[in-house]
């Protein structure tokens, strides 16, 4: 019993430690990657003991700066309500990750450990439900600070997140029909195979490309970052966190990065095969190459490789999301809302019907 508890705690620390760590690294990656994309060098001045380490110490200096800044609370606002908004946002941003499987099964000490925090039959619904709660923190932030621009930011966020939240759900019905399950672990198991004579990994993206495109677009919109950064709109309204300073602002900022990682995790799980490594099969005890060769890998090696593959894929998708964020210009609010309701919603419905029809015919 105690042992089970420790295993659960260990898994939670592993997953959320990885999530937080990756989000912290993203604050660094964002600067370095945008610098490289724009022929610059990027942050490289902070140093530890004279070592610049490619600018990595900037993660620490940022935290120190945010923690030591003045903590400003506008007049006439209850301090606890003001402090609640960033924490609601931060908590809600983290939680969907709990349903994401970060590995298959680890056999350790004669016990099979399912490498997933919550083994739920409705994992996907849980993740989407929690993700749609992100709007509460944003609305609270704009509303309690009694600032017109912050309220405008909240209104935009409401218009955007509600509109795209609908599409987010519907775009995933296609994959759900295909996999026949809402359990994220089961989805990955379905994808842990090959098709076309063993050449192509059976990943969702190859069967549901349209759903993948829509989900990625909507996922970017859910993170409230460029090209869908209307709730923030730095150049016009500053946005819902206008009246926040110091670490409270930092919490909003970090929440955006955590949401980016969570969107990447969901994308990887639903469309990119989750923890599955192409051609690596646990049942066959190693790699089964398409040309017929076989490379043996011990069972522990298979599990570790799969756990590593999950993070590699998540990191790659995060990189791609940053690439989009630093390439595309921002939408106008009416364009963004029209994109969501008029184009993405019908397309995702169409994708659902198309998938259902194909599955029906092939039955």
């Amino acid at each position: 019993m105690v042992r089970t508890l420790w295993i659960e705690v260990g898994k939670a620390l592993y997953l959320f430690g990885g999530l937080m760590g990756l989000a912290a690294i993203l604050t660094w990656l964002e600067r370095k990657q945008s610098a490289l994309m724009q022929d610059r060098v990027g942050a490289n001045r902070a140093r530890i003991f004279g070592l610049r380490l490619l600018g990595l110490p900037h993660i620490i200096t940022d935290a120190v700066k945010l923690l030591t800044k003045e903590d400003f609370v506008p007049a006439g606002v209850p301090a606890w309500l003001h402090a609640m908004a960033p924490w609601v946002t931060l908590t809600v941003a983290c939680l969907p990750a709990a349903a994401v499987p970060f590995g298959h099964v680890l056999y350790w000490g004669g016990q099979a450990i399912e490498l997933q925090l919550m083994d739920m039959q409705v994992g996907l619904v849980y993740a989407l439900a929690i993700a749609s709660m992100a709007i509460y923190g944003v609305i609270l932030a704009g509303w309690v600070t009694r600032n017109k621009w912050a309220v405008l930011g909240s209104l935009r966020a409401a218009a955007q997140l509600i509109g795209f939240g609908v599409v987010l759900g519907i775009s995933l019905i296609g994959p759900v029909l295909l996999y026949g399950t809402l359990n994220l672990q089961e989805m990955v198991r379905w994808q842990d195979a090959t098709v076309l004579g063993g050449w192509l990994p059976r990943w969702g993206i190859f069967f549901q490309p349209l759903a993948f495109l829509i989900f990625l677009t909507v996922g970017i919109a859910e993170t409230k970052r460029i090209p869908f950064d209307l709730p923030e709109g730095e150049s016009e309204i500053i946005g819902y966190f206008l009246e926040y300073s110091g670490m409270k602002f930092g919490a909003f900022f970090l929440a955006d990065f955590i949401e980016t990682v969570v969107v990447a995790m969901l994308t990887v799980t639903v469309f990119l095969g989750g923890w599955s490594v192409p051609y690596l099969s646990a049942d066959q005890g190693g790699f089964v190459w398409p040309w017929g060769a076989h490379t043996a890998v011990p069972p522990v090696g298979v599990t570790l490789l799969q756990m590593a593959a999950f993070w590699v894929k998540v990191f790659a998708v995060c990189w791609f999301l940053l690439l989009i964020r630093w390439t595309l210009p921002r939408f106008r609010i009416d364009q963004a809302v029209r994109l969501g309701w008029q184009y993405l919603l019908p397309l995702s419905v169409l994708n659902t019907f198309g998938t259902a029809a194909v599955l029906l015919i092939r039955q």
């Binding site: 490289l36 994309m37 022929d39 610059r40 060098v41 690439l323």
Partner: protein, 178 residues
């Protein structure tokens, strides 16, 4: 409606163009190309390779000096006669033309009958100077030039921003490189 206006007709585009996807892919291709090119060259620099190829376009100032064009208007310098006295004759041309009113000259008599006057003190307040170069153009004696290419002019105290005559007389002209 007052005034004339011309209505621009946008050419109708097909659905593929209007889906933005080709333009987005093009943009991603450009930025990703820059990313991988710079990543590759920076990594090569770490290992001492490809040093002659620049990665990125920025100069790592102050470790890496920035090339300055010969026409660059830098800090002011006062020129000297062969005997070491200032060439300036305190004619006030520069002080008069200076749009920022940041030059202050205190003149004094000189024994030499062929020299009108000489500055006793000559101040330029760099915190007001707009680096227009009018003072250089106005000077009839070619006594003032702006060829000290030092742009580390910031200071913690606005009084440190005032250049005095000794500093300007004893500065060396910079050699433009590249």
């Amino acid at each position: 409606m007052p005034g004339q206006f011309k209505k621009v007709r946008r050419p109708p585009e097909n659905w593929w163009v209007r889906s933005y996807l080709p333009a987005i892919l093009q943009g991603l291709w450009i930025t990703a190309r820059h990313f991988f090119r710079n990543l590759f060259i920076f990594t090569a620099h770490r290992f001492g390779l490809l040093k002659h190829v620049r990665a990125g376009v920025v100069y790592q100032w102050p470790e890496e000096p920035r090339p300055v064009a010969p026409r660059y208007r830098g800090r002011h310098r006062l020129l000297k006669r062969p005997d070491g006295t200032p060439r300036c004759v305190a004619c006030y041309m520069c002080e008069t033309i200076c749009p920022a009113e940041c030059i202050h000259i205190i003149p004094q008599e000189v024994p030499d009958p062929f020299i009108e006057k000489a500055p006793k003190a000559f101040y330029i307040d760099l915190s007001k100077c707009i680096f227009c170069g009018y003072c250089v153009e106005a000077c009839p004696e070619d006594a003032i030039r702006m060829d000290v290419f030092d742009f580390r002019l910031a200071s913690y105290d606005r009084f440190q921003m005032v250049l005095d005559m000794e500093t300007m007389l004893n500065s060396e002209p910079s050699v433009p490189y590249k």
